[in-house]
Structures are given as C-alpha cells and as structure tokens.
Amino acid sequence: MNKIVKKEFFSENVVRLVIEAPRIAKARKAGHFVIIKCGETGERIPLTIAAADKDKGTIDLVIQRVGVTSRKITELEEGDYITDLVGPLGQATHVEKVGTVLACGGGVGVAPLLPIVEAMKMAGNRVVTILAARSKDLIILEDQMRQFSDELIIMTDDGSYGQKGLVTDGMESVIKNEKVDLSVVIGPAVMMKYASMVTKKYDIPTMASLNTIMVDGTGMCGACRVTVGGKVKFVCVDGPEFDAHQVDFDEMLLRLSGYKDIEKEAENKYISNKCKSR
C-alpha cells in the first residue's frame, strides 16, 4: 500500500499524483516505469515514472483518464492508498553526451519525457524540446521542461497556444535549422510512428518509449511483445525504449487496439453506474 501525498490536475483529464514509494524513488532512473493496481479487483497497468524525490521518498505519476482503471486511479484523493505498486521496471534510458538532443513529447507522453530531458541536459547535451498537444489546456509540465531545455517549442493542433501544427512540423523546422544528433519521441503510438518517420528521413538516431499493454510487467506474460528490427521483443524487460526506426508501429497500433471495444464498454458501464449511485 502506497500513500498519495499530493494530487494535482494538469487538465480536466490529466492528473499528477505524488506517491510515497521510498525504495522506488531511490532505485529509479530515467526511463523506468511502475505497474500499478487499484483495488482488490483492479487491473495491473504500466505507468512511466515522471519524477522522483529521493529525500522525501516519493515518485510522480501522470495519468490520463482513458478507461476504467485510469479513472479509478485519478479519482483517488490525497491521503488515499494505492493498493499495489511495483517497480522500478524496465531498462533505464541510455544517457550520454551526444551533442544536440531533440526531445518530442505528445500529450501525456510529456510526463515520461521529463526525466529523460533532465538526464540528457545533466549529461551536457544541448536539449531542444517540443511539447505537442491538441490544444492549450492539454500542454503539461511546460515550466519543468523549460528548466532543462535550451529551447522549448510548443505545438498545438488548433493553434490555441504556441505554434499551430503537428509535432512533426515543429521537428522539421528544428532539423532544418540545426544539426540534431539524437531524437527522443514519446507519446501516443501514432505520434511516435510519424515523428520517427521524420527523423528517419534525416537519418537521425531516434529512440521511442513504448506504452504497450502489460499484465505482470516482469517478462512473464508476453502481452507487451512488439517487433523491433524483425525480432520479437518484450517491452517490459527489453524496453520500454527502442530504436524507433526499427519498431513496427503498425503492428503495435493493432495490438494496442486488442481490447478497445471491451474497454469502452466497461468504461461506459462504470460511468453510468457512478451516475446512478449519485
């Protein structure tokens, strides 16, 4: 059981939770994730660690409401407990000084990008960060990102904040202006697919952090398997970061849709039950 010490809304559907987890706070590195389960009948889902405070023994998770499980988690309040939390899992990000790093975060994918941007900056890189979202209210962690970025670009689909356009538009303009040595892209699978197509065009090494379906998160079930460079890899133990140019994103998108209908139905049922009980 892990206590929630702070809860903050980034937007209507995006919540930041600060959770007591001293061992995880101490052991985690950029790129690591946790598996979280809420309630005795809850589902196990993976969430990348957005930040940690070793001294206070806490970790930050940023959660977007997209289904029953994320709703249940985001409905918890300060002082409540998470039933089960395990981590840090996965391979940590490989961080070294390469020159200029172009970090691109889409939607809630900005949260797992934050510790990587921080680590890349600390390693002595010039970091150019692009935050992209549909509209202004979905842009998160801007101040924290600015702190570790030499340059910060904001892209919104509707132009309500920053520049109007997709993440890929922002990437093109950066790449045209300066030499980029490494790119990191984290966000929805479809965003990572198109973002990595841009860097492939310019031959820029790129890594993506994959957010597949998982059950145990320790290599036991294989639900998270993806094809990378023609080989089957498990995101939980081999990843979550891979060479984005080798990832079969189409297959990943397909596999992510495996439970979509069931999940939608479960979410609708959950919402209507909640309304009835009010």
């Binding site: 309630g39 589902e43 089960d84 290599g219 036991m220 294989g222 498990f234 596999r255």
Partner: protein, 493 residues
C-alpha cells in the same frame, strides 16, 4: 541427503505398526482393489471452476491404506523428492489417526495439500511402490491418500503449526514465492532463521496462483498453507522485484546473510512463425494469469479477457492442458490441442489428458502450426497447420516429429494460446554480473548443495531446471535449506 534406514526401521517397529500389520494377511491386502477418485461429471464441471477431483471419503481412505504392505524396505520413499515417510502416514490413516498422518506429511513437505493434487505420483512414489515393481498391479494410491490427510487437517480447523527452533537472529531472503521459495521458507523458519520472502506480483504463491487453475488446485488450499508459514513467522513482501526495487547488494547491506533464488522460469516462448503477434494469440502464461491471478473471467473485475469460440492451444504439457480446459470453461465450442507428436509422447500427466478428453477437448496430434491469418482488424481467424509423422527417436528419447510435405490445411480459430515452454527469467541474473549461468540461461548450481557461483546465493526450481514440476521445485527448496544452514553455520564459526 537420504532417509536414514535405521530411523525408518525404528519407526516401523513401533508397537502400533506391528499390531496393525498383524491384523491382516498380506494376501488379503493385495487382493483389495485400488480406490477410485470421485470426479465431478464432465458435463457439469466444464460449466464452472469446481474442483474436478472430489477427494476420498474416510472409509475409502482407510480401505486404500489397508492395501499398503508397510514394506520393510519402503522403495516408495525413494521416488519422493521431499522424502515423505510414506508408510508411516499411510498406516496412520489405516488406524484412523488422520491428524497424525498429516503431521507426518508436514515433517518433510511444506505443501502437502498442494502435492496431493498436482504431483505426478505415477512417475514418482507410485512408480516405486511394491505393487508396481513386483506385483505388476496398480500401486497404492499414495497421492490420493496424501491429499486426503492434508485436506482432513485443513477441514478440521486443527492445523498444526510446525515447531520452530529458537530464533537465531539471522536474516535470510527468498526471491519468489512459488513452490521452491515457500518450501525453502518453511524449512529455514523451522531452523530458527528470520525469513523474508520477496514476491514480484501482488499475490503470494507464484505458479500455484497464477498458473494452475482453480479446477485443479483451488487458491483457498494454497492460502491455508501460506497462512501456516505466516504463523510460523515467515515475512512476506509482495510487489518487490529483487534486482529492481532493491538489489541483492542492497539487501546484503540491510543485513541479509543468505539468499535463495526461486524466481521460476518466467519468459514464455513463442514459435516465431508468421502472424504470431495478431490479436487473439497469447502465451499460456498471459492467458492463465489473466484468468487465475486477475480473475478476468469474473465480470466484476477490471482485467479483460478475450476467449473465443474456436480456441487452439499449441503444446502438449500440463500448462497446455490447463489452458485448453480453461478455454472450455470460458465457453469455447471447439477447444483444441495442437501437438506435433502423438498422444503417447505428451509430457502432460495421464490424468490431465484423461480429464481433458472427458471434457470434450479435441486432440489434433501430429500437427504443427506454420502461419496465422487475421481479419481486417488484425484479429486471428485461421491457422495453417502441417501434418507430422514420427521418425527416429531424438535426444529426449521420444520419436522425432517429421513434417509431411504437402499436408498443410487450415483451421478456423479466434483465440490461440501458445504453450510451447518457457525460458528462465533474466531479472535476477541481469542484476548480478558475477553470477555464473548455464548456456540455457539457468543459474548454475552445485548439484548437491544447490549453491551458486556466489557462495551466499542458492537457487532451485525452474530458474535452475528450466521447466519442471512443483514437487521437484519443492525438493530443491528443502535441499537448499539444509545446505544454506550448513554454510551459514560454517561461516559463523
């Protein structure tokens, strides 16, 4: 480690045993017919998770116990990886001292109610029974009797908590709470160590919980055994991945003196054939974990499961049987085993195959999947299989399956469960660069001591064996406990 013959003889010469033997002639005993296990009707049992084997009545158990000749040289014990004093517990059943019988079991076995259900007795104790070896008759039903005594004790509410030696104040860590880890925990606790079990999942029990289905081993049975360990003083830490949450070195700094790795054979193998990543194709580990650990088939839980009408399970082991029988219970109209050899070569227990056949499982033997096909949404809809025939025996002694050219055909499927084996979990080894591994990526240990290349680390179960049984894992736990105890006593001298 072997059972002391003098001790066995002394026990056998106890007055009550002598009297019991004299009450019936051996001829009368050997004329008795082996008891039958009551099983729930297949048509009824496939509609729920009810346990298939219903256990023996008291009278049935006593009658069966009378078949045992209480041999002067009890060969059955040599077939038991944890060396239960088999004649002693059976004779206690014969004289209706059922709680005494359970006590005998627990002297050497941490999980008797589990073993009584899932051990392959036909290959172990019962294969070494006098009836099997010399009389060519059906062996004494040792497994059924074990289960009877253990269940009797569980139901009696008078569970004996094994005696624990005075506390030594030495902390021992166990990685993984499956059969190897639990056995090791019990054995070390009895010796007076301060025992901590670290489990990656949110539940204690390992494969006994996530793997073996309710209809073969109810979780409640496992929980009773775990409760006893808690009462003995074993500490359990769930949601703790050693190597990640804390490393072995961290734990050493926190005062742990010895480590036992029983982390199991975690990684599921796939066949690497085209289309294997389509939706609806999953490993048996994922399928069974969703159902058994996450209770996904229960509409009141959040974990989803897709289990279709035409389910093919690839493989012929116990896990394949567990998966296909689970599919049937989840409403499959066609639940199929696809196995590349013939039924004679199947590694699954005879009883599991028999139960599966009774439940209407279709066995498509001598067939091997080549490719999967999906609909426009990426969901598997068909598989191509190739007929096989048996050639010369291979290194396993089983006849090698050889493809029959031009024999490919299609089978309609909407769920495929791949159950072709597992590889050892790399989590622990990858956090310990100095730990010596075999070329199969299992932990290399000394055969007798189960000690690894790092002297304070011992290991057992599937992380050493690659993929074996519950009872062999338990045997390892017991053996490793004895040698770690020796090791610690030596270094503290």
């Amino acid at each position: 480690m072997s059972v002391n013959p003098d001790y066995l003889k002394e026990e056998r010469e106890q007055e009550w045993r002598v009297v019991l033997r004299s009450q019936k002639k051996n001829k009368e005993r050997t004329d008795l017919v082996r008891v039958h296990m009551t099983e729930v009707d297949p048509k009824i049992r496939v509609q729920s998770n009810i346990e298939v084997n219903q256990g023996l009545s008291e009278d049935d158990a006593v009658n069966e116990a009378q078949r045992c000749l209480d041999c002067p040289n009890p060969t059955c014990i040599t077939g038991c990886p944890v060396e239960i004093n088999i004649p002693k517990f059976i004779k206690n059943i014969e004289r209706r001292e059922f709680l005494e019988a359970a006590k005998v079991l627990k002297q050497t076995s941490t999980l008797p109610a589990v073993c009584g259900r899932v051990c392959p007795q036909e290959k172990q104790c019962e294969a070494q029974c006098f009836y099997t070896l010399k009389l060519k008759k059906e062996p004494v039903a040792i497994g059924y009797l074990e289960r009877f005594a253990a269940d009797y004790e569980q139901k009696s509410g008078k569970m004996a908590v094994p005696e624990v030696a005075p506390a030594k104040g030495i902390k021992i860590a166990i990685i993984g709470s499956g059969p190897a880890g639990l056995t090791f925990a019990g054995e070390m606790c009895k010796r007076g160590y301060d025992v901590w079990v670290f489990e990656a999942l949110h539940e204690i029990g390992g494969v006994l919980k996530y793997g073996i289905p309710e209809f073969r081993l109810p979780n409640s049975i496992v929980d009773v055994e775990i409760d006893i360990l808690k009462k003995m003083g074993v500490h359990f830490e769930t949601n703790f991945v050693v190597g990640k949450t804390a490393t072995i070195d961290d734990l050493k700094d926190e005062g742990f003196k010895g480590f036992f790795v029983g982390s199991g054979a975690g990684l599921p193998r796939f066949m690497n054939i085209p289309g294997e990543n389509y939706i609806g194709i999953l490993s048996s580990n994922e399928y069974l974990t969703r159902i058994n650990l996450m209770d996904a088939a229960n509409p009141n839980t959040d974990t989803p499961i897709i289990s279709g009408k035409n389910v093919a399970v690839i493989g012929g082991g116990n896990t394949a049987m567990d998966s296909v029988r689970t599919a049937k219970r989840l409403g499959a109209e066609r639940a199929m085993i696809i196995y590349r050899r013939s039924i004679e070569e199947m590694p699954a227990r005879v009883e599991e195959i028999k139960h599966a056949q009774e439940e209407g499982i279709e066995f498509i033997n001598l067939a091997n999947p080549l490719e999967y096909y999906a609909d426009e949404k990426g969901r598997v809809k068909q598989m191509k299989v190739q007929r096989m025939e048996l050639g010369e025996p291979d290194s396993s002694g089983r006849r090698r399956p050889v493809p029959v050219e031009g024999s490919e055909y299609l089978i309609d499927v909407d769920t495929v469960v791949v159950s072709v084996g597992v590889s050892p979990n790399p989590l622990i080894p990858s956090s310990l660069p100095d730990l010596k591994m075999t070329r199969w990526q299992t932990i290399e240990v000394d055969d007798d001591k189960l000690q690894s290349s790092i002297p304070y680390i011992f290991a057992g179960g599937d992380i050493v064996r690659g993929g074996a049984t519950v009872i062999l894992a338990m045997g390892d736990g017991r053996k490793a406990a004895a040698s770690m105890d020796n090791y610690i006593q030596n270094i503290s001298k």
